[in-house]
Assembly symmetry: C2
Homo-oligomer: 406 residues x 2
């Protein structure tokens, strides 16, 4: 496709249908979009007769949605493309860590191959941005980082990404600070971590080390925090404090943050305010085998919340398929978001906050100047796409179709 062209017959949401004060549906309209240098340069009515000579690509009335973001995955852990394996029962996370450490290097497939298989699934499901963790620990050195970077290079021009240098075996416990430092110099943009209490055994020292590494490398932070109840929220509070002290607001995320699901709603509201003040985001994989953070409540309190698939057939879980739209549909189902607006707004958790209509039903996407990263969906509206996990026909990244076809 040329650097400039018309994307014709694109279905855009234009407002909510309201009956007796209740939102009952979504209105859409067909538009022609002029795409130039990967951006949406013009949007015209579908009655407009195009008289110029630019090429035309017919979107055939498919619904346009902002392309999706996978905010939490482990490209170096998936077993996709390898043979079936169930999960070996263990009695502690440390046993699981040992099994993973032994299993992954012994597979008949390469980390890079498996990562590419997962990236392809992401593209097909509408994802054009991925945040991946990569395991960093002494025995592996930077091998996982390099393998994942190779896979990502194979998808150059198809999606963007962020890499978290993740000391899976404990930043302190596995003495991986220096390796994480190297990873940050080698392309990783965020410092990872895991359970400062139960894995590292020292909340304060673990968090201090993470923050120090982040500040030093001008990097972000994305902490895996499974620690439950008040152990979890205590850790979050301390990280929020350190975030403010280090001026890292807006660059720190806590993945899983199970503790927020274990406390009362009023306690969660307080935590929400605290996290919002510190600019600390929450990332959830919407687990169904335990409680997880109250996404709607946190969002209402100004916390940035995102959804990621996390485990996709790995040593930790035999489930997961890499369809982030399915995962956010699960969030809606768990949260009982079943009405038109609630379903439509659910999309924000996999688009970095963007939805075609805002809460009041005003069209806010796409706007002139927006990057043309778009999913073309066989659906009548966002609400349907979320509830029905509608078919993704094609994915566009910066103006180029990178998966499927129109």
């Amino acid at each position: 496709m040329n650097s400039a062209y018309w994307l014709t017959n694109a279905r855009l949401e234009s407002g909510y249908e309201v009956q007796d004060g209740v939102i009952t549906g979504t209105k859409t309209e067909i538009r022609h979009l002029f795409i130039e240098d990967g951006k949406i340069a013009r949007i015209v009515d579908s009655n407009t007769i195009i008289t110029d000579e630019w090429p035309q690509q017919d979107a055939k009335g498919l619904l346009l949605l902002p392309s999706f973001i996978e905010k939490h995955c482990h490209l170096d852990k998936t077993l996709l493309g390898d043979r079936w394996r169930s999960v070996t029962p263990v009695s502690s996370i440390f046993e699981r860590l040992d099994i993973e450490k032994a299993t992954l290097p012994s597979l008949g497939t390469l980390t890079q191959e498996r990562a590419e298989q997962l990236l392809q699934i992401y593209l097909e499901s509408g994802v054009t941005h991925v945040r991946t963790h990569v395991d960093i620990y002494p025995e592996a050195g930077l091998d996982n980082l390099e393998a994942v970077q190779q896979a990502l290079r194979a998808f150059e021009g198809k999606l963007s990404y962020e890499i978290v240098a993740f000391p899976q075996h404990g930043l302190l416990r596995s003495k991986s600070a220096e390796l994480v430092r190297q990873a940050l110099r080698s392309g990783a943009g965020l410092v990872g971590g895991v359970d400062p209490a139960t894995v590292d055994g020292d909340i304060e020292a673990s968090l201090q080390q993470m923050v120090e590494l982040a500040v030093e490398a001008n990097a972000g932070i994305d902490l895996h925090l499974h620690d439950a109840g008040h152990l979890g929220t205590f850790t979050m509070k301390r990280l929020a404090q350190l975030t403010i002290e280090a001026g890292l607001q807006g660059k720190v995320a806590i993945s899983h943050a199970f503790g927020l699901g274990d406390i009362t709603a009023s306690q969660a509201e307080q935590m929400g305010e605290l996290l919002a003040d510190a600019g600390v985001a929450i990332i959830t994989s919407v687990p169904i085998d335990r409680k997880f953070p109250p996404v709607g409540l946190l969002h209402q309190h100004g916390v940035e919340v995102a959804v990621g698939c996390d485990n996709i057939f790995d040593v930790w879980s035999p489930f997961g398929n890499g369809d982030i739209l399915e995962r956010v549909s699960r969030l809606a189902e768990v949260s009982k978001w079943v009405d038109e607006r609630s379903l439509a707004q659910t999309l924000q958790y996999i688009t970095g906050g963007t939805t075609p209509l805002n809460h009041d039903g005003e069209q806010v996407w796409p706007q002139i100047g927006d990057v043309a990263s778009i999913v073309f969906v066989q659906a009548s509206c966002s609400a349907e796409a979320v509830a029905r996990r509608s078919q993704r026909v094609a994915t566009m990244f910066q103006g180029q179709i990178v998966s499927g076809s129109l």
Copy 2:
């Protein structure tokens, strides 16, 4: 396909792989099956050279699983095939009932069409037996029963079924006993019901009426019981008593039975014994927006448990896709059943208890004489099929391919 033929190169599970006392995988073997009059008449080694003249159908090494049972659906409620609709917020179940009563007859599609669309999805997903509820209430009379029966007739020879005469608006509340009686004379095989406490307002009278209708028609019972906590378990206990008194053991099921998810494990164990003694089965749709019965615990106590999809895009829920294997995979995920055997045994909840290997890893399916109702799956074993919701390539009902192809 002739009434007798060879089904060659069929992959059957033959045992578990055990390493250091831990089940780590599943062994399979390739066999040729001779199918005669819809049954498996012979099973021979794949080295056997077939010298007779019977036709041969090559299963190409696909895994064979016993075909699936959808134990709880509403063929007359789905909106599949109609336009997208989200769910209108309501403040009580009675409002929802009114909306449904108004919506369904107003659709641009026929009940029969929508039911057929769902039945087709079931076939493709491996289902060859369906238990459907059909709404029975004064305004509708037996219309839903008749429409669903027409749809089922279109699938004659492709699947078997049971119909529950379901007084959705309350057996007593909507004064539908006489209509249910008529439905039982017109092809329904079970008496339905819903929340004797909160919908009918009189547990005793409601249950008595259900049992009376069932005894009179020599029918079974399948009660929708959403009533929570001890209200639910009280109702279950009473139904169990009445079941024994009426000699209906083995013919009674309680769908949803949410109350069992709200009580302690030791209370649930007592309930399990009580239900097992009374031959009362539990059917769950594995909801993720509330607690539901502890399936593993109930099974251990001898209760027959089955899974059904229930809502599949209807006036009650915008979610659900009719893939019963996906639904039982969700059960495994919620229940943390991630090891090889647990995953493999999960299959029993959608096969009426049948699994290729029993708990000890002995091959128990297929046996000579078993009806040849089979799903052909792109998987290496049951555990993989459950965890990965593997592709269903074809579905066979009584020896005939009824969906897909080999």
